[in-house]
Subunit: 196 residues, 2 copies
DNA sequence: GTGCAACTTGCACTCAGTGCATGATTCCCG
DNA sequence: CGGGAATCATGCACTGAGTGCAAGTTGCAC
């Protein structure tokens, strides 16, 4: 899955995780607004300018996926059995992804609790993931653009709504229960639609 | 509906609309990022500092509701007949609101088309509206918090998904058709739930 | 080891957003 | 009608996000 490990690739991932960890640690302590980018780069031991080589902005450091995540969600999407209903596939991929990324979900949750100013960001999972999910669903379902977007965005809303209601003390399985409940409650009319 | 017309209230609304109109005109021409706040205040003939007395930030000038809107949506919400299913009520309030605010919906759409950088803002209607809708639905439905949020956020997603698919040449009724289609396609399981 | 490509860094700059102090306008009440 | 209080507009100075550029550094291939 990983390329081979040219030194550059490895260092980049290490740096990404170093900066990410430093930033989220500071933010859980002080809150998002109270942590400046200068604070982050000082804690991570890199230059201010390098921060922007890794992250497009301050919010990105909270919500961007780990460098390994795209491979992860690509695997989760492709391993869904043919014939499985689209809505079920989306639910299971979300459960699989949040399981694999449980640590970061918990971290994000703690940052949010310490940062009321992030309320109304609704970016629990990176945009890139939803783009990939949309592309995948487009191939498998043959839905028109409108109903495709409605379906994927409905899934996104279920997740984004579940997270604020999630008591992190219940662990990642607590989130999974909320996701299942959400998917059962709000359902697009894809009667017996199959994902090819 | 309006207080009486103390001079101050009238002037504030006039200034709000003046700044709003100037900003959105510039943004349709050049795009969101290419218009600075200095450009806006110059065009509107107010001081830079006064801009922030009216708007919390640059995005607010695009997405904030008109000063008269809260009274409008309050009326739309309260005039829904008792016994109407919650999902229908939300749909009809959205249609009523977008009808009354059709001009601004069209303006916003044009700004978005000129400003790819606004993609992924999903703030078609102001947060305040959705807070009001949530409060109203909480009173009428007696739903628990989770299912309340799932329902209201699903409605929000239907609207936010409809707008990008909306061909503004079809006028506001074109948007209404998309909203109806969306509400029919994604539906929360509120079987015979009535809004008291 | 030499040369190329990728990465890091510092510097200088623009612009969003805020706190504070001050002057102008409106309002209210005697 | 006049004067004090509340509200609003404004200028100024400041912090911090984000970007372009050019120079230095490091890994990689031959």
């Amino acid at each position: 899955m990983v390329v081979a490990s040219p030194v550059r690739e490895r260092k980049k991932r290490e740096t990404w995780r170093l900066v990410h960890a430093a930033a989220l640690r500071l933010m859980t302590e002080r809150g998002f607004d109270a942590v400046s980018i200068d604070d982050i780069v000082a804690a991570a031991g890199i230059s201010r300018r390098t921060f922007f080589n890794y992250f497009a902005g301050k919010e990105s450091v909270v919500f961007d996926p780990d460098p390994d995540d795209p491979a992860l969600w690509a695997a989760l999407l492709t391993e869904r059995p043919a014939g499985e209903p689209l809505w079920v596939s989306l639910r299971e991929v979300l459960i699989g992804y949040t399981t694999a990324a449980a640590d970061r979900m918990l971290l994000q949750r703690r940052v949010r609790l310490a940062s009321p100013e992030l309320a109304g960001c609704s970016r629990e999972l990176a945009d890139q993931f939803w783009v990939a999910a949309r592309d995948w669903a487009a191939d498998r379902s043959g839905l028109d653009e409108l109903h495709l977007d409605l379906t994927v965005n409905a899934a996104r809303t279920v997740l984004n709504t579940s997270c604020p209601h999630w008591d992190a003390d219940t662990g990642i399985t607590g989130l999974h229960e909320l996701i299942r409940a959400g998917f059962a409650f709000v359902t697009p009319s894809l009667p017996e639609r199959i994902t090819s």
